[in-house]
Symmetry: C2
Subunit: 252 residues, 2 copies
Amino acid sequence: MGTTQLESVQEPKYWHLKTVLNDALDSEFEVGEILPNERDLAARFGVARATLRQALEQLELEGRLQRRRGVGTTVAPPRMGVAVGPVAEAWPGSGRDSWNTVGCVEAAAPGPVAALLGTGGEAVHTIRRERVMRGQHVATELLYVPPASVPELSTMLTPANHGPAVLRELHTLELEGEDRSVELGSASAQDAKQLDRLPGAPVLVVTTRYFSEGRVAAASVATYRADTCRLTFGDSGALEVTHHQDDSRQAS
Amino acid sequence: MGTTQLESVQEPKYWHLKTVLNDALDSEFEVGEILPNERDLAARFGVARATLRQALEQLELEGRLQRRRGVGTTVAPPRMGVAVGPVAEAWPGSGRDSWNTVGCVEAAAPGPVAALLGTGGEAVHTIRRERVMRGQHVATELLYVPPASVPELSTMLTPANHGPAVLRELHTLELEGEDRSVELGSASAQDAKQLDRLPGAPVLVVTTRYFSEGRVAAASVATYRADTCRLTFGDSGALEVTHHQDDSRQAS
DNA sequence: GAGTGGTCTAGACCACTGA
DNA sequence: CAGTGGTCTAGACCACTCA
């Protein structure tokens, strides 16, 4: 037949739905505005709720939406740029950092971390910190410091001053370099709680090794909210522009 | 009653399932081994297939599994470390890079990219490249080069030599610095095809500005497979260790 | 064509929030 | 308490791969 099958490209419903919603967010909604609830939206588009949710999940992953149980779905602001390098932002004590120490224990490092540190299985200072930007928890971190890196550490440690004392000692070292990797992960139950997300929420895991005096002086595993953060690494300051991926079909 | 409710913590089934499977992968399976199909697994665990799939999706997101339609679910190898900085890896032509040029057109840059370049809406050279490691497509990139950055460019351009010619000219510039950001995204239909994934697959979007002669000489948006890649940034070489997130409950 | 993962439905109940 | 998103079920059909 001569029926030009213009739109029978077999695009999944949720995918099409996602693009429709994405466009609607740009043109008909303001940041912070709350969307109709999932049951209404599904009915409005004539799909099952599960299908609608598949589209919403993707949009949340891309940082366009924020959903909170018991509350509703709101339009998310553009992701914030969060500097993770160079040194100034993360090396404890240097610069105006936005990290808060929330706890510290001395314990054996988990296997992968021990490998990072190049130590055996001996106990290390394990400091949990969290990073707050614009009033929002954006990251939680575990910083591992071998006792050898802080030999002058006071022996009068209480749970309250343990973390700050280690950081203070660490800061007296001269930092020679660092090593970083970024990968996708999902929030553990504990991380999720600190980041005000549900367990399993997508996160960017930043693993850093700090070098001093030819050794690994410390290692950290920082977990950033992937929905709200854009990590910036810069010689020249942070990028200013928000990048919504738009299907620019070019250059084959 | 004295019934100590040891395991009534209201952990979702799929979450528990995920940890069970994760442990099983460590102890009972080899990399590359194929798992029982979803229907069998669901039956074995006494859950609906959708619930089982929720667990598998998470494990795939974390790079533990690889699923291919029509084939099956296999145990993924540890993520590969992919260097994205410093310069050597990405600045066209320098070092032993693993990028292939697959196309080039001259066209107006999309809005966000124009902002990155600090140019108006004029046409820029848009080069698509792809990065292959260990025989696998790990990234696809669009590199945007304003004509002003390559003034000596030959006027004898064919589709076949356009891209390489621009890269050659670009390489004659002295690179002064770069700017980078990393965020989570989902693969466009086009990117997905090049990365051998389904549309919507999670990707790490690396946006880079290259500076030369006090200007932005080029900008690129590179899309890495989030399931198989760990991006490394290093003064001191790549990290060697694979980091499976394990719920180390420490330091409150 | 048999078997796989991917999409979709129409329900149900639960956990959480805030008035 | 009513209303929200989160979890779960038991089906169905589709798109894809490969022998």
